[in-house]
């Protein structure tokens, strides 16, 4: 089908995406659109450098491939270049979303009815503090083809659909925003969440009325499951992405396998083949995903790789080379990352805190050595019970210390299937998961 140039490795990644969006703000429809985009990335490697091109015209892929090959310097022994040897060769078609569950079959009317149902049930304009509200639905269906000069031929699909309802409350001239979003792979499962949206609406209204400013300092913190998911992703997940440590002896020594990096209670895993938001049938270099235990009982046991990082560090592929879309180069990214649950309840964990902070929900986080999370809803814990809502700006901790400070891991693991991870200018759908956990010390501002 494609004539691959001699003496070079090359791969072609074609994507066909169809998206739809329907959003409403204060009763007015702000967006009602459908889009369809096809495009391809062509990569050529000569053992020293990559040459890549992007096109929307799939009839010109061969021309693009030949043009890139002309820039490269062929190597007769290209098959034995370490990174090229690493690339897996699969011939497979994995279409999980082309049957009755295909979101492309969802009509505009069905999307509008779903969202209008939630608006009718959950937006109460008689609440005097409610000044603005937003509701939206979006969906995406993507078919990816992958062909390589080593013989890989893969066709896979992916889809997401979801909705959100968001509220702006104003109390004493201060706005508080909060709401609920649901995202998944099955349109039918988006129905029936009205009470969860209403619970969240009422929680943020209560927060708007009663939250007090926190006194900055170090606190014992209990993280709700969704927060633990982000904590897992930010505090350690990014340090498990091996592309940051290549040819860096300091980091290779710091993150050596078998090193104790956290308390015995901490086990963290990444797995791309779970049907959550970070699902992949194959990564964007054609590698099948693995279940990769990054930490087992506090001991460093694995890290995430693309072919280059695995070849450089002499480790096994994990299937974590991912690209935002056909316009971007793949790099090492998380997929579905979770902290393994423990065996005690959420209530028992909170009961063990005399004075601390319960972090209920967060907006976003960052993953340097000092990781951060920006909460949008916290509560004081006094004498083992939740007390007044707290306004907290940012939670920070050090990856080198905090994993050792985890002294309780709950049995209530939840997946957060609404996360998007940013790295080097690329946004990637991921899923984070974890149970309620307790951390002996985090810095609160």
């Amino acid at each position: 089908m494609y004539v691959f140039p001699k003496g070079l490795y090359a791969d072609i990644r074609i994507e066909h995406s169809k998206t739809a969006a329907y959003t409403v703000q204060n009763g007015e429809v702000k967006q009602n659109s459908e889009t369809s985009v096809t495009g391809a990335m062509i990569r050529v490697y000569d053992g020293k450098m990559w040459y890549t091109g992007v096109t929307n015209d799939t009839d010109k892929i061969q021309e693009e491939l030949d043009g890139l090959a002309a820039l490269a310097e062929p190597d007769p022994d290209i098959e034995n270049v370490p990174v090229v040897k690493m690339f897996e060769v699969h011939k497979d078609k994995v279409l999980r979303f082309d049957g009755d569950n295909d979101v492309r079959k969802i009509t505009r009317k069905q999307r509008e009815e779903l969202l209008q149902g939630y608006i009718s049930a959950c937006v109460d304009e008689d609440i005097p503090e409610l000044k603005q509200w937003y509701a939206g639905y979006s969906q995406a269906h993507i078919i990816k083809e992958f062909y390589s000069s080593k013989g890989a031929e893969i066709v896979q699909d992916y889809q997401q659909c979801g909705f959100w309802v968001w509220f702006d409350f104003v109390v004493n001239d201060i706005k508080t925003s909060g709401g609920r979003s649901f995202r998944g792979m099955d349109f039918d499962k988006l129905f029936g969440h009205e009470q969860e949206v209403i619970e969240r609406r009422d929680r943020y209204l209560d927060f708007a009325k009663n939250a007090v400013d926190v006194t900055p300092g170090d606190y014992v913190c209990v993280l709700a499951p969704a927060v633990t998911g982000m904590f897992t992703h930010e505090s350690f997940g990014h340090k498990s992405e091996a592309d940051f440590m290549l040819n860096d002896k300091t980091l290779q020594d710091e993150w050596v396998m078998g090193k104790k990096v956290g308390s015995d209670l901490v086990s963290i895993c990444d797995s791309g083949d779970m049907l959550h938001r970070g699902y992949i049938a194959y990564d964007d270099e054609g590698t099948a995903p693995r279940e990769t235990w990054l930490i087992k009982n506090g001991v460093l046991t694995g890290r995430l790789h693309d072919a280059n990082s695995a070849a450089t560090l002499g480790e096994e592929l994990t299937g974590n080379a991912r690209a935002q879309d056909f316009g971007y180069l793949p790099m090492v990214r998380m997929t579905n990352t979770y902290m393994e649950p423990g065996d005690i309840s959420h209530e028992e964990i909170i009961a063990g805190v005399d004075d601390g902070i319960y972090v209920y929900n967060v907006n976003y986080g960052t993953g340097q050595g000092t990781f951060t999370m920006q909460p949008n809803c916290c509560y004081r814990i006094r004498n083992g019970r939740l007390a007044e809502p707290l306004r907290v700006n940012v939670v920070t901790g050090s990856v080198f210390r905090t994993l050792f400070d985890i002294d309780a891991v709950g049995n209530d693991m939840e997946f957060c299937d609404t996360s998007t991870c940013g790295k080097n200018g690329q946004s990637m759908p991921v899923s984070d998961a974890g149970p309620t956990i307790r951390v002996r010390k985090l810095t609160i501002n």
Binding site: A21, N26, V29, K30, Q31, N32, S33, T35, V37, T38, G39, M49, W50, Y51, T52, G53, V54, T55, N56, D57, L71, R108, K131, Q132, D168, V170, D173, I174, K175, T176, S177, P216, K239, F244, L246, N247, D248, T250, L251, E254, G327, L329, G365, T366, G367, Q368, G369, T370, F371, T372, M373, Q374, R391, N393, V394, T396, F400, T443, I444, N445
Partner: protein, 403 residues
């Protein structure tokens, strides 16, 4: 029925650097088009990326009138074309600059592991309609973005710097690299008085939200009900500025084809709030001034939100504004930000002590706090007339240390 076509064309060629080596040469060229038809009451919109027959796409846009996307406003007219391109770069020239940059960093700063990208990008945005509107804006730069990590550091990276220029001057790049890397391992103490020196775009996000005329009308903005009041410092003037001087890929027209007189609109003058920003719909709905602030929405009707916010420069240089005082320049400040009350807190993972022009040494990790009304009010020192450190405009303001 009138027709309108919005085109966004993007050309990009890049050389990527990994572990202080040239790793990848990439090229990308894409054209997005939004075909739009108007019947006086509604707009029909059809988005296409890549090749497509124009008549077919306009026909699909006409079909989409059935979605009843409201648009009752008169379309714009007028002709203007602006091209800010100063020079072009061949693939060979780009590769040569990349090799020269990597070689310079390897030779002069061998203790750092470097990654990043050197790229040439050219962007054209255009809008035309059957009433005679014909506007286009083109800009092109060569940018170098460098992330650095000291070989002994245990963090993923230690910092970054970037420089974008229309006519690339290698000396400006090496000056910047030397400034960031030469004293990076020189550890210094935090100064008692905390004066932040930084490009200001990141601090304007909250103000952008607050100036949205809809938020102001509905009471969800911290600036609601304060038009005509002095809200910030005397020296604080905030404009939407897409003039030749301040443009940086930003078109001189908004998503409805509206052009501002002199390419400029003042929202806050000498600390006094004049108005929020509004597209035609928002202005009509809330009875507020129309400020030509429609964002380009390629897939649907415009949204309110196109502002290129600029704080007016002082007549004094950064050094003159500082008058002998030292500043703190955040290099990595990830996390935190403004809360709903307008309070700002963020941890600073990497920062340098600076005399306004040259870095003196690296500071320990700390956190800063402030409040929007103080940062642009009593604690606002100014935006210098010159561009040291960043090759771009920068704010000077006092802030406080936090936990």
């Amino acid at each position: 029925m009138e027709r309108e076509l919005i085109t966004s064309r993007y050309l990009y060629r890049s050389v990527k650097i990994k572990e202080t080596k040239i790793n990848t040469f990439s090229k990308d060229e894409r054209t997005d088009r939004s075909f739009r038809v108007y019947d006086g009451e509604y707009a029909g919109v059809q988005f296409v990326q890549g090749m497509a027959d124009e008549e077919e796409q306009f026909a699909k846009a006409a079909e989409n009138l059935s979605l009843k996307r409201p648009y009752k406003f008169a379309l714009e007219t007028g002709t203007r074309h602006r091209d800010k391109t100063e020079r072009g770069y061949t693939d060979r020239e780009l590769m040569d600059i990349a090799h020269e940059a990597v070689e310079y960093l390897k030779t002069h700063h061998p203790d750092f592991i470097i990654s990043g990208e050197i790229y040439v990008s050219t962007s054209t945005k255009a809008i035309k309609n059957t009433l005679g509107l014909d506007l286009s804006n083109t800009d092109s730069t060569l940018d170098i973005e460098i992330a650095f990590k000291h070989k002994d550091s245990k963090d993923i990276d230690d910092g970054w710097f970037s420089i974008g220029q229309r006519d690339f001057d290698f000396k400006k790049f090496t000056d910047m690299a030397d400034n960031y890397l030469t004293n990076f391992t020189n550890r210094v103490e935090l100064p008692e008085e905390l004066i932040i020196q930084e490009q200001y775009y990141g601090y304007l996000g909250k103000l952008n939200e607050c100036l949205n005329a809809e938020n102001m009308a509905l009471g969800t903005s911290l600036l609601s009900g304060r038009i005509g009041e002095k809200v910030f410092a005397d020296g604080f003037t905030l404009t939407h500025d897409v003039s030749d001087k301040e443009t940086w890929f930003t078109p001189f027209f908004d998503g409805e084809g509206v052009v501002q007189p002199n390419d400029r609109r003042v929202f806050i003058e000498n600390g006094v709030l004049l108005s929020g920003y509004a597209d035609k719909y928002t202005a009509d709905k809330y009875g507020v001034p129309h400020t030509g602030s429609a964002g380009i929405n390629m897939t649907d009707i415009p949204y309110n939100g196109y502002v290129n916010l600029r704080i007016e420069r002082s007549e004094k240089t950064v050094k003159e504004l500082l008058d002998g005082r030292l500043t703190v320049v955040p290099i990595i400040a990830a996390g935190g930000g403004f809360n709903d009350k307008g309070e700002y807190v963020t941890p600073i993972q990497t920062a340098m002590l600076c005399d306004g022009e040259r870095f003196i040494g690296r500071l320990p990790e700390f956190a800063i706090k402030g409040n929007m009304f103080d940062m642009f009010g009593r604690d606002f020192i100014g935006v210098g007339s010159d561009d040291p450190v960043f090759n771009d405009k920068q704010i000077l303001m006092r802030m406080q240390y936090s936990k």
